[in-house]
Amino acid sequence: MANKKKSDENLKGSLYAVFGVGIIIILLWVYCFDLFINRF
């Protein structure tokens, strides 16, 4: 119970959300890098 309460007070969601933003950025970058490699 104590552990559950603790998990509701942490910033785990924020951490995952920021990592999610980072992953979106990296995926778009990789897609464009692939286009770049194919074109030049």
Binding site: D8, E9, L11, K12, G13, S14, L15, Y16, A17, V18, V21, G22, I24, I25, L28, W29, C32, F33, L35, F36, R39, F40
Partner: protein
């Protein structure tokens, strides 16, 4: 006026000064938005401009009015109110500086606008050589810049007065005022580049005192200013996110130190990075382009710090309201409140906007999108959605606050509707621009079919999608203007809140170094000298003969 009122209410004289700026900003939104609508119609290939109006003339009106005038005037209105609200009422001298700045900027805007409307200055909003405008256009822009220096000085002096009056009290200066000062200092340093270019190159060239100018130098000086301009647009949006939104959602500022550190990092990394706009420029050595690319990437640090701070502020508040699980707190946020919802859409747009920016700045990959309409799609996400929707969300409480009226429920709902419309229109228009750019469609071109070229046929559906998205955006602009008019003159009289957040009790103490402007300014100047001295010496010493001016349309 009681002490309590003095700390929560903006003085009526300061309110009048702030509102004067905001009126000009929204007039610019109407005219600039109309010009944008005409542009997307022309690019669709289905419409020709009437009465001899040129595409590049309309393009210049759109860029100058929305990129330079709407932004600068709204930012100044917001900043004046913010400093007055958090540092205290302006003295008569400080307010006088504000009015002198306002009139210089307004006269300069009118002079430049007349020249653009007469087709004497269709030089696009970047206005560097070899496109040449009438000297009155350059003089007008000079007045806008000088006016912003004078008005900005008034705001800084009020903040300095607060620090002097509270010296030794151990208090950190008001966060919102501190942020205003950072933004103004960055603006002063950045506009020096454009001031040098206008005073020593473009004005004498336009007046006929000199025949030729160094084009690469003119472009480099513009982009020295031009990238910091992007942050001059964004930092006021960050002020709203960091300081206003916590109060609106009933939460707390996650960390005062983090907010101040991220602003100082934006200050030092916003200016010495302009060459990433010139990655295909032949006259700049690859080493210096690489160095400025690295410095550009440093901006990702305060950007992700800001992202974390926002999520953390939302999560803490959402959990306080009973949100469970990993993301349950997200549902607890006040989604019906336009003061939160409209800027939130702006925050969301910054995720693809920032990602696209990293691709633009990725040196070799820049070749993929350079001068394509991808770039237009990119900055319509960053400035025309992230920054502008945050400004609109702020205007919904700021205007009634300053005019002594209230944001009614129906106007609040209409604001949310306009933001949804904006999001839909911008998703269609900006996505189409990004995709068309990746398949080679150029920006800044009034041709749609390129004489029947096969490749251009692939672009047409995306250009039609841009016209559809642009039309939806124009409808959203009309709704926003309706709300602004109601809030300024017709909404019920009453008291609207100027929300200023408090720092979370676990936010920690703020180190004094984060308020030591001297240290950060020295770092900024050192970085600028490092990043620009050799490239500029190279450009000056190896440049070909300068260019005559061109008026192509």
């Amino acid at each position: 006026m009681s002490l309590k009122n003095n700390l929560t209410k903006v003085d009526r004289r300061d309110a009048k000064l702030a509102m004067a700026h905001i009126y000009v900003a929204f007039i610019a939104l109407l005219l600039g938005g109309l010009a944008g609508l005409l542009q997307v119609f022309v690019r669709s290939g289905q419409f020709t401009l009437p009465a001899g109006i040129g595409y590049y003339q309309v393009l210049t009106v759109h860029g100058v009015l929305l990129g330079l005038i709407l932004t600068t005037f709204f930012i100044f209105g917001f900043q004046i109110a913010s400093v007055s609200r958090t540092s205290g009422t302006f003295s008569n001298g400080q307010r006088r500086l504000g009015w002198i700045g306002f009139w210089l900027m307004t006269i300069g805007t009118a002079a430049a606008a007349v020249m653009v409307l007469l087709n004497e200055a269709s030089v696009l909003y970047t206005f560097y050589a070899p496109l040449k405008a009438h000297w009155i256009f350059y003089l007008g822009l000079t007045l806008v810049v000088v006016g912003s220096w004078v008005g900005g000085a008034g705001q800084i002096l009020r903040y300095a007065q607060w620090r002097k009056e509270n010296k030794g009290s151990g208090q950190r200066s008001p966060l919102l005022s501190f942020m205003v000062v950072v933004n103004n200092l960055m603006w002063f340093v950045a506009t020096l580049g454009v001031a040098v270019s206008v005073l020593f190159q473009l004005l004498p060239w336009s007046l006929g005192f000199i025949e030729r100018v160094d084009v690469a130098l003119s472009r480099t000086l513009f982009w020295y200013f031009g990238h910091a301009l992007v942050y001059f647009w964004l930092l006021p949006a960050y002020m709203v996110w960091y300081v206003i939104i916590p109060k609106v959602i009933g939460g707390k500022i996650f960390s005062d130190s983090l907010a101040r550190l991220s602003f100082m990092l934006f200050l030092i990394f916003s200016v010495p990075v302009g060459i990433h706009h010139q990655l295909t420029e032949p006259g700049i050595d690859a080493t210096w382009k690489f160095i400025q690319v690295v410095l550009t990437f440093a901006v990702i640090v305060p950007s992700l710090m800001t992202a974390f701070s926002m999520f953390a502020m939302f999560e803490l508040r959402g959990r306080e309201l009973g949100g469970k699980g990993l993301f349950g707190w997200f549902k607890k946020l006040p989604w019906k409140d336009a003061r939160f919802f409209v800027p939130f859409i702006g925050m969301l747009a910054f995720i693809p906007g920032g990602a696209g920016g990293i691709i633009n700045a990725s040196y070799q990959m820049n070749q993929l999108i350079h001068n394509t309409i991808w770039v237009t799609g990119h900055f319509h996400l960053t400035i025309a959605t992230t920054a502008v929707l945050t400004y609109f969300g702020a205007a919904f409480w700021l205007i009634p606050y300053l005019t002594g009226r209230t944001l009614t429920k129906s106007l609040n709902n209409l604001g949310n509707f306009a933001a949804i419309l904006w999001a839909v229109g911008m998703t269609i228009m900006s996505s189409a621009m990004h995709i068309a750019g990746l398949i080679g469609a150029p920006r800044r071109s009034d041709y749609s079919e390129y004489g029947g070229a096969q490749q251009a046929y692939d672009w047409i559906p995306y250009q039609i999608a841009q016209a559809v998205g642009g039309t939806i955006l124009f409808i959203a602009i009309i709704i926003i203007l309706y709300i602004v008019v109601k809030l300024a003159w017709f909404a019920p009289k009453g008291e609207e809140e100027f929300p200023v957040g408090e720092v979370h009790e676990n936010g920690g103490t703020t180190p004094a170094i984060l308020e030591n402007f001297k240290v950060w300014l020295v770092i900024l100047v050192a970085l600028i000298l490092f990043a620009y001295t050799i490239p500029i010496i190279d450009i000056i010493s190896n440049s070909p003969p300068g260019s005559k001016g061109y008026k192509l349309w």
